[in-house]
């Protein structure tokens, strides 16, 4: 249904601030548009994005309909230890998507 792409540097030095990019395919239907018959198209958006680093939350974004289709986010975190950076998107109509990436810190 939704497919996500994440870009995390595979290696980093300890304490380095790394940049993470995420993109997920999703229409982000605003709920303000109408179809040809004038009926309102129901809202279908991603409401929440959470990034966790070895289980600890490092960044979160609460999205509203004003976010463009296929939400794209670039943010940072500190490379503290080797492990997994996990991403979760949740939204309308029971949407829940997850993705993760491994990072080696030395």
């Amino acid at each position: 249904m939704s497919s996500a792409l994440v870009n995390v540097p595979p290696r980093a030095r300890r304490g380095e601030v790394i940049e993470i990019k995420t993109l997920i395919s999703h229409p982000m239907e605003t709920g303000y548009r109408r179809n040809q018959l004038g009926a309102r198209i129901p809202r279908d958006i991603i409401r929440l994005f959470v990034c966790t680093y070895n289980g600890t939350e490092v960044f979160r974004a609460e999205l509203h309909p004003a976010i463009a289709a296929n939400p794209f986010l670039v943010f940072s975190t500190v490379a503290t230890e080797s492990g997994t950076i996990a991403f979760q998107w949740t939204g309308d109509n029971g949407l829940s998507a997850t993705e993760s990436a491994a990072i080696v810190v030395d």
């Binding site: 018959l37 004038g38 979160r60 974004a61 609460e62 004003a66 976010i67 463009a68 939400p71 986010l73």
Partner: protein, 154 residues
């Protein structure tokens, strides 16, 4: 026969459209600068919002309001004692004033985020930064939009 039904369908659709049009004139289809003020007030409470510290980067002219690149950042050491807790983005004239809220902790390293937003029309975008000492800072940017976002059919 076929022509007749399509005419009927068209008239019905037109009538529905008219009815909805009447509803729109009662309730405006977009927010107002006052609605944005209210939305900001809801986040900051009674605290004072000062200008500065927040850097909001948006193109001054956007050809497509459906996807406008936005970068927002706040200079901060991002230590447990002194970091940016959140950045909230608002618009004046979109259907609703809230755009996005980013939440950080010291683990974020730096308070800088990029994304793409929708703008319904030419308007001012405001970002409000919330610091760990409880202070609020803001920055605004005006964007001219030549193709408006998302209120028509795709």
């Amino acid at each position: 026969m076929d022509r007749e039904t399509s005419r009927r369908a068209f008239l019905r659709a037109a009538a529905t459209g008219l009815g909805l049009g009447a509803v729109i004139t009662v309730a405006p289809a977009h927010a107002t600068p006052e609605a944005m003020e209210d939305a900001i007030r809801k986040i900051v409470g009674s605290s004072r919002v000062s200008k500065g510290r927040v850097k909001l980067e948006l193109p001054p002219l956007s050809e497509n309001g459906n996807t406008v690149p936005l970068t927002v950042s706040v200079e901060s050491p991002m230590t447990p004692a002194d970091h940016v807790r959140a950045i909230h983005v608002f618009t004046e004239l979109n259907p609703q004033p809230e755009v996005v809220s980013f939440r950080f902790g010291p683990r974020a390293g730096q308070a800088r985020v990029s994304t793409r937003i929708r703008l319904a029309t030419t308007q001012t975008v405001t970002a409000v930064g919330e610091l760990s000492d409880g202070s609020f800072w803001s920055a605004s940017a005006a964007v001219v939009v030549t193709l408006a976002a998302c209120l028509e059919d795709a």
